[in-house]
Symmetry: C2
Subunit: 394 residues, 2 copies
């Protein structure tokens, strides 16, 4: 096992109706004047924003609002938020929404006390500054997927050039995250399924490791995946199934606060390979992962550590071990995963996603392999990325 | 799933040699003058205390020491520690050891800024005060068992009357816990095994619940238990197996920081039933649990929710499901758990522990059932506790 630090100081407040206690938690963590930051649309229509405002009013906490966060949150709104917070004397940022609202809130929180351009923290510059001071951030989560409610990470799209960059810092970890599974019940099925794939791949990126003998995190990964296999079909069948929504929402947090990834090298190639798909076709991240991840498994299992793929197939995907021909077990496992994602309405091929085989050379070029390394379990080359895209076409 | 708060703000610093960074972490968390609190004996002889002192010196952090913590830490040393901290202007408490040193350190931390007697926090008085202010506490852990490195809980034995009481508060959660699995390699085998049972029962007390449909925590519990079944025999065979020690040490933390217990009612009857054994015979807590827990399973499975026992037997203990006669699967599971604990050198009966059947009525009387409730999965009566003690005699 590798040496590691695990630090997850966020207070998770989980369950029915907890959004009505938001004000009390803001007060507990010292907020007096809040920026309420969200997308708009459904959070307003559902009455959630009004409930959160009422809970702030109840505690005598004042607020200003900034709505309009888009999926893949933009730099423009961050600049606006920083300006607004300074002008209004805001001392606490509250994101209401999914990963986009939370990531945008973290960027604003980092920018307010910083003298320079907040983008300095996200820039490719190897000497970029780290975020050492930030306003406190907290969240009211409405989508189970990204895990940003439990991390110090944030990804923003720079509007000058439309490229995504990320940064992270312990000071950006939310002080608290309010997680009411009921708030996820009104998501469209495609978005629920896409979030489920994202959660599962957060676990799988950690599962495929070259670090030997980290059984405790192997077993926790397997437990989260088994939970997803059992619970996700229930919400596809009945979107109002509270217990299944609750299991998935908490799975999303433990899948990505790194409790199931400590002490081990992790892979993350599939996330990089998928990014090109969502950049080019504007598809949902989870849908892109459902196409890429099984193709990555097919390619990598032919080149590296078959036994780890067999372990996943047997322990998680319900396959029998073919001791004489373990490659058959691996193939059965990959097929089972693809079948599962297909069964919840996810695409598992380029065609179903609307991606085109002829775009592969351009996507591989965009990945800038050589300038940066991609993947740890099996480091990727241009050739292997191209092969994975081609496997995803079938 | 029940509503829950999960809060574990401790920074876990895990791996080889990390005790040499203790000073840097004390500084990071604002300590300038430290009480170094430990048992003595092995921590001194092994050179650990000297390494910790050297790391404090390196950062210019001064310290005073208070050694002499005993298993089942006593109130007398706590009073001494409070006095010493006040006199010496200590602003940070560092425990080096296992659960006893850590629990004693938490008591001192709570007592220093408190005007009254620290015992007020532990007293049976229903209006007892809660710990709202405390000096910051941190730990260098040397035993994988109690989980105190990750909790805000502390249990102290009052010397006037020799009874144990506990309290807990978020302000007593360690700022950081340094966990080097190498430090556990020199434990006597009996203590290693006893710690392993304690860890497993921390999970099992959470596993036996009446809350339906908390699959995510079921699966995480099962993952930790499967890890223990696989890793503990390795350290019994080879005490210097770093990887196995590391898996067990981290299992001990996740077993008891409640990440595997959120959203569900928990049981904890076996802990209460065992307390009488360790009080009367001064046996190791884990050894007592190895005797009591299988007996609790035997009794309770005959009265309540057979399916949960069958789930444990099949998913964790490697039993085949006997669909026509599930009670046979349950019996096989209980036998397998007993066999496992026996195989690592633990007692599994009164006789092996040195306990006496004729003491049962006195132990049952001491439990004060009626004045307090014991157990949630199946609430205990005097009769059921007596029956469990008798089952443990066989």
């Amino acid at each position: 096992m590798e040496n590691f630090n695990f630090y997850s100081p966020t207070m998770f407040v989980f369950g029915k109706g907890e959004e009505n206690n938001t004000g009390a938690y803001v007060k507990k963590f010292g907020g007096t004047r809040v920026l309420l930051h969200f997308g708009g649309g459904s959070a307003v229509r559902s009455g959630l924003i009004d409930r959160v405002k009422a809970s702030l009013d109840k505690e005598g906490i004042t607020y200003v609002t900034l709505s309009g966060v888009q999926p893949n949150p933009r730099s423009g709104l961050v600049y606006e938020g920083i300006e607004l917070c300074r002008k209004e004397g805001v001392d606490f940022i509250l994101a209401v929404g999914g990963g986009s609202a939370i990531d945008s809130a973290k960027a604003i929180a980092a920018g307010v006390p910083y003298d320079g351009d907040f983008w300095d923290f996200y820039d490719d510059n190897p000497n970029r500054p780290v975020v050492e001071k930030a306003l406190p951030v907290a969240t009211v989560l409405t989508i189970a997927a990204a895990g940003s409610e439990a991390s110090g990470d944030t990804v923003i799209t720079q509007e000058k050039g439309m490229f995504k960059r990320g940064t992270g810092s312990d000071v950006l970890r939310p002080k608290f995250s309010i997680m009411n599974p009921e708030l996820t019940m009104t998501l469209p099925p495609y978005q629920t399924a896409s979030g489920a794939v994202d959660i599962m791949v957060h676990v799988l990126e950690r599962y495929f490791t070259n670090t030997p003998d980290v059984e405790i995190t192997d077993r926790m990964c397997e437990g989260i995946l088994l939970t997803m296999l059992n619970e996700v079909p229930k919400v596809m069948e009945n979107p109002g199934d509270y217990e299944a929504r609750a299991n998935i929402m908490w799975a999303g947090t433990v899948a990505h606060n790194n409790i199931c990834g400590v002490g081990r090298e992790q892979d993350w190639a599939s996330h990089e390979i998928e990014h090109e798909l969502s950049a080019l076709y504007d598809c949902a991240h989870g849908a892109g992962l459902a196409v890429i991840f099984p193709a990555w498994m097919e390619y990598v299992s032919q080149h590296h550590d078959l036994s780890r793929f067999a372990q996943l197939a047997v322990r998680v995907l319900g396959c029998q071990m073919d001791f004489a021909h373990p490659e058959n077990t691996v193939k059965a496992g990959i097929a089972a995963l693809r079948r599962f994602w297909h069964s919840i309405g996810m695409p598992t091929s380029f065609a179903e996603l609307g991606a085109k085989e002829e775009d592969i050379p351009a996507m591989v070029e965009n990945m800038r392999i050589g300038q940066r390394s991609i993947g740890h379990f099996l480091p990727m080359t241009k050739e292997s990325c191209a092969a994975i895209y081609h496997l995803a076409c079938r």
